[in-house]
């Protein structure tokens, strides 16, 4: 018997038992819908997280903190440390950052600017370090001579839609510590472009002065709180991080490797996704048991028919094929409908999830609340998952259909004909 005819016969048989066939197919649809919706949702979620991480971090820049997060970031680096790191292989650039979180910046009307942190940096090196991010919207970066110039982050100078400082304006910088009061006037040289998303190197709430000026401030000095090191290729990131750590045996440092963080996050999301899909797969197995059950009943009901077919010359494998074809058709239909239903459902789930997950605000203490970036997950229907799920549906149906189909094929024609 030709395969096309076997399939056609199977289809006819299914049509004659519409309710039963649709219910069996529905069970497969539910399984595949669950798998596909979780797959597309997971894929979309991963894509979103990845994009956020890429926006938040320069993948080829290592961020080095003195001390450890657990023990506290007590100490600081000096120029000797910077030079030591410069000697590490595959490090192309190292630049220090002095942070002065207690600095108060005010405009000429004594209105406080919304800067969270004042940084002392080497502007030339920083541009080279973060070429994608460290951009001016207006003005220029201070030259070596302009030691009383300041560069403002995009959001530091805006309060309730009012611009507090422009390029060329003078602002006052006050730093109070145990060494006394530092009070100096700086000229706004430039304003940084909007950073936008969250991340460790978002400078929207930073203000920067030349590092050489910062080191002159009493109580600040040559104490670098953060070092940035650029690697020639992200594949060396972890090796470079290890080497840098080995240079600081006497006290602990923390090297933050964005690319490895990204990989770890990706791995975790991957595991979570697979775990959820494995659970969803159970529903497909349940569907398989349902198919086995219903087909075993069908074989009993159709014993006489099988006997007739065999008596008039159908081979065992033809009978086997007819039943397996029914199982396969259930798998194909259930798989097809399930893929579409799953993709549709993933949009619904994405919408629900988006309402639950809100991104952490950059800093709620700041008067300017950044526009809330509502996390929107766009489900991604990957071709791989679609094919895998579809084949899985058919394979499960065939495997569970195999037992009843073999039972049918093995029937003795004489006994089957006698069956009432």
């Amino acid at each position: 018997m030709k395969l096309s005819k076997i399939l056609a016969t199977a289809w006819e048989n299914m049509k004659q038992r519409k309710l039963r066939s649709s219910l069996t197919t529905l069970s497969v649809v539910i399984g595949i819908t669950a798998i596909i919706s979780l797959a597309s949702l997971g894929e979309g979620f991963r894509f979103d997280v990845k994009q956020r991480l890429e926006q938040g971090f320069e993948l080829d820049v290592l961020i080095i903190f003195p001390g450890s997060f657990m023990a506290g970031l007590g100490q600081s680096f000096n120029q000797t440390d910077v030079n030591a790191i410069r000697t590490v292989n595959n490090v192309t650039l190292v630049t220090p950052l002095i942070t002065m979180p207690t600095a108060v910046i005010q405009n000429m009307n004594d209105t406080k600017l919304g800067a969270l942190t004042l940084g002392g940096i080497n502007f030339t090196e920083m541009q080279e370090m973060l070429p994608e991010r460290f951009h001016l919207m207006q003005g220029h970066f201070p030259t070596a001579e302009e030691n009383k110039s300041i560069v403002l982050g995009y959001k530091t100078r805006i309060l309730n839609d009012t611009v507090l400082a422009n390029v060329g304006d003078n602002i006052t910088l006050t730093l109070v510590d145990k060494y006394g009061v530092y009070n100096e006037t700086f000229e706004v040289a430039g304003i940084l472009e909007k950073g936008g998303t969250s991340g460790i190197t978002n400078f929207d709430y930073w203000a920067f002065i030349p590092i050489n000026t910062a080191t002159q401030i009493p109580g600040v000095g040559e104490n670098y709180q953060i070092l940035l090191a650029k690697v020639s290729d992200t594949k060396y990131s972890e090796q470079v991080a290890k080497e840098i750590e080995s240079k600081f045996k006497q006290y602990s440092i923390t090297v933050f490797v964005p690319s490895s963080l990204m990989r770890q996050v990706d791995n975790i999301l991957n595991i979570v996704q697979l775990f959820l899909m494995a659970i969803a797969s159970i529903s497909l197995l349940v569907a398989g048991v349902g198919i086995m059950n219903i087909m075993t009943v069908a074989v009993m009901e159709r014993t006489r028919e099988i006997g007739i077919l065999k008596a008039i010359g159908a081979k065992s494998r033809t009978v086997l094929g007819m039943f397996l074809a029914e199982a396969a058709l259930i798998g194909i239909m259930g798989g097809l409908i399930g893929v579409f239903a799953g993709y549709g459902l993933s949009y619904g789930l994405a919408d629900i999830l988006s309402n639950f997950i809100q991104p952490s605000r950059q800093n709620t203490a700041v008067v300017h609340v950044p526009e809330t970036e509502r996390m929107t997950i766009t489900p991604v229907l990957s071709l791989e998952w679609t094919i895998v799920a579809f084949i899985f549906a058919i394979v499960v149906c065939i495997i569970f259909g195999l037992y009843p189909a073999r039972k049918a094929a093995k029937l003795n024609p004489v006994e089957a004909l006698r069956y009432e």
Partner: protein, 234 residues
Amino acid sequence: MRPILEVREVKKSYRMGKVLVPALCEVSFDVREGEFLTIFGPSGSGKSTLLHLMGCLDRPDDGEILIDGSNVLKLSDDKLAELRLTKMGFVFQFFNLLPKLTALKNVELPLTIAGVPEKEALEKAKEMLNLVGLEARMNHRPSELSGGEQQRVAIARALINNPKIVLADEPTGNLDTKTGWEIIQLMKKLNEDKGQTFVVVTHDPHISETADRIIYLKDGLIEGIKEAPRRNKQ
């Protein structure tokens, strides 16, 4: 001329629970090509069992069955199925049509199994239904047909593959006398017109008397074989 089918010392018994019930004890006879043979006996005489063995639907416990001179019991189940498909036709007491298929589709079935192209199969099925006088009822399902009509469909189905032997197991057993007689006459006519061999199992003496040859079976043994010489073919 070599017999088309030879039964050689065939034995068969059935297990009923723990008891072994003998159905056939050493039965031997030949079926000649083109004859109309009836196997006559009371119920329980083993005639249906014998027909099933001749039709390769079952295997004997002992003995040989030769078709065209070769022992078919050495063949695999699949080969036997092929043999049933190409060389044999079956007619049963309870018609054994597929209830969900129309008369036409039922007749077409053996050709479908054989992989004959649909158009050709359809033509041939119509032709066969014509031959048994059912051209007007071919799109009806078995439940919409009378017993006699259903048996005609079954005969058309048995003949569609142009088999050498048609095996009929009590073909009139479920029909009234008049209809049963018509069915036997139809088979006789087909036997004469097409020269196909017919083996008919019956417990009706009137029907068995119409045959070229009668094998009397009782308690799994052949009691005698009676020829009707005037009807015997060359």
